[in-house]
Amino acid sequence: MRFGFRRLILLSLIPLISFTGCEQPQVKFVFSQKTNELIPEAAKPVKEALVRQFGNPFELTQFEGLPTDFGDVQGTVKSVESSGKDQPLIRFQATGLENAYDKLLGLPLEWTSGKGQGHISRIKEYDFETGTIAVEKSPEIDPQSGDTFLIECVRLQFGRDLYNRHCMHCHGMSGEGTGPTSRYLNPPPRDFRLGIYKYTSTKPTSKAQEADLARTVKEGIAGTYMPSFKLLTDDEVSAIVNYVIWLSIRGETEKKLVDELYLDYSETAMAERTSEEGGETREEVLEELKEYMELDFPDTLEFATSSVAEAWEEANLEDAIVIPQKPRVADTPESRERGRKLYLSQKTKCASCHGPQARGNGTATQDFWTNPATNEKYSERGLHDIWGNLLPPRDLHRGIYRGGRRPIDTYRRLYSGIKGTPMPAFGGSLTDEELWDMVNYVMSLPYDGNR
């Protein structure tokens, strides 16, 4: 035989190897490390609540009261196209889908009236131009003109699809910042689950505006691996931002729930409580937990989601945004000098982190700092951000402005600080003139000839 079996087997192995060789990222929402450190009896209701409230990446769940746009669309059947017996699909024209664009393909469609009421069909074809939908044929449904149906989470799912295509490989499936490429990046991709974003236009205690996140997506962050996605349309960017905020809300809700439980019901707490000094038995602790779960947990959940949702809603109100009371002070040598003095003063203490020459090498970079979350010292010298990463203060001579290079961006960095980092907010302690003097000084540094 000229072409041996051995060779045939080898050849047929090639596609098999190439399929199995590819590592696929896990398609599920992960839970935080703290959640996993809870005792199983406490972790279970938290996880169940999250799945109930937010679903999984395949099926996002909606619940009322979130500031994100789920994009439910309510449609009405206009006319049904006659279809042959052996046609596997039912085609009909529908109205009410004007805002759904062409994002309906593959989504479940729930019949809300007519014979099929309560049944769910899968959308197999959708023509945005003509408004024609095709669904699988099934004995339970028989669409007639006038029947209504509901398609849920259109907007959110559109955002999810775009996120998974463009953002997921760094930021991770659940926005936890550990996508497949993340291990190669420094600074590491942001973990969205704290709901904290560095570069915002809002006041120190407020969350980010949707517009801030949209700007970050469109412009990228200079000096980091976050590239610009300017070629996406405004609609696509806003859908991504919508989904990112939704992921943040999911993460924050989880954090709030776990924080309530962690002190008493983590594995470590359990070990302590049931040790000789603790003097409790495991059964006693579980009984107490059971009581908490029955009486207080629903309220905690309700409060957690509503407070997070409220915070995001408030950030988008007009008075959350930082707007200077006075226009920029003219960028003169005198103004820069006033700014330099402020920079070096005890009032601002800028030099202690950024260094007397603004090279990012202040004395603070040589200290061992305490982690506010764990109350333990970090193992490395230098400042850290809230995500636990080492964070060298910026060398202000480099002319790289991560949060944008407009004067207002620098003003806002000074006014509100940089959220999640040790950079403090000077909004209350410095006047507008002083802030603008500092802006003029800082923005002149890359060009002062002392490079």
């Binding site: 490429t181 517009a211 700007r215 300017k230 226009p327």
Partner: protein
């Protein structure tokens, strides 16, 4: 060898010629609906491409015809035996000199185009004197630095320089030059519609000039496999009339020196944050 093989070898040159001839009509030819190059130099490069295409087509069809003829004759002739020869001096000379001459012709013929494209001495003077922008490639985006309106691009960044990302605006109908740099790895500045392609190397500043001849939005892509996100490194070059270009720069200036109180209409900037701020 059977006649089946003759047909097999006959089929491929025919398929190649037919698919080449069909290419412009089914969108397999030049980018953007087989449009003419959007730069004058690009049109000359296209002409060069066609000359080479014609020469190679003639050679290809000729050699394939001879091959098929030889096969066909061999397949039909069972009596004649092959003779063992040790080369033919005359033949060797012919098939060395003719391709050599063709290559020499092409080499000399394209010299002007090459010089105009790559040798700085031959660049249009106006473009060299006043570079349009500095283009910095980095994983995975394109960053642009323009000089302030009325000023010239300096080697080092200036306080009033204008910056943008992934959107290079260019006036049309006049030659422009950019300074190409790379922040990290090797990238390649590729404007398929203008037939411009130049590698960007870390540590080097490479001048590239082009003259767009019709307004439009063209792709700027990275043609070097620069990393995992390479496919994302897509930007737009927006070719527009001089006055629109100046208006863009003016708008960019306004936007860049925005102090939170100025008057930037939301529609001009295309960002929503200003709309909220207003």
């Amino acid at each position: 060898m059977g006649k089946g093989w003759c047909l097999f070898f006959l089929f491929w040159p025919i398929a190649a010629v037919v698919s080449c001839a069909m290419a412009p009509f089914v969108g397999w030819s030049f980018p953007y609906n087989n449009a003419q190059a959007a730069s004058n130099l690009g049109i000359r490069i296209d002409d060069l491409f066609y000359i080479i295409l014609i020469v190679t087509a003639i050679v290809f069809v000729g050699t394939q015809a001879v091959l098929v003829y030889a096969l066909w004759r061999g397949a039909n002739n069972r009596e004649e035996r092959a003779t063992n020869i040790h080369g033919n001096h005359k033949l060797e000379l012919i098939w060395s000199i003719i391709p050599g001459a063709i290559l020499l012709f092409l080499a000399i013929y394209q010299m002007n185009i090459w010089a105009d494209f790559r040798i700085k001495k031959y660049y249009p003077e106006a473009a060299v004197k006043d570079p349009l922008a500095e283009v910095t490639a980095r994983q995975f985006e394109w960053r642009f630095r323009y000089p302030a309106i009325g000023k010239k691009l300096q080697q080092k960044p200036q306080p009033d320089d204008l910056y943008s990302v992934n959107e290079l605006h260019v006036p049309f109908g006049k030659p422009v030059m950019i300074q190409l740099r790379s922040d990290d790895v090797q990238h390649s500045f590729f404007l398929p519609a203008l037939r411009i392609k130049q590698d960007a190397l870390p540590g080097l500043q490479i001048p590239v000039w082009f003259e767009a001849n019709k307004p439009g939005t063209y792709d700027l892509v990275c043609a070097e496999l620069c990393g995992w996100g390479h496919y994302k490194m897509k930007a737009h070059v927006i070719v527009q009339p001089e006055d629109e270009y100046q208006a863009y720069l003016k708008n960019l200036t306004q936007k860049q020196f925005y102090d939170g109180l100025g008057k930037i209409a939301a529609k001009d900037t295309g960002t929503e944050s200003e709309a909220v701020e207003k």
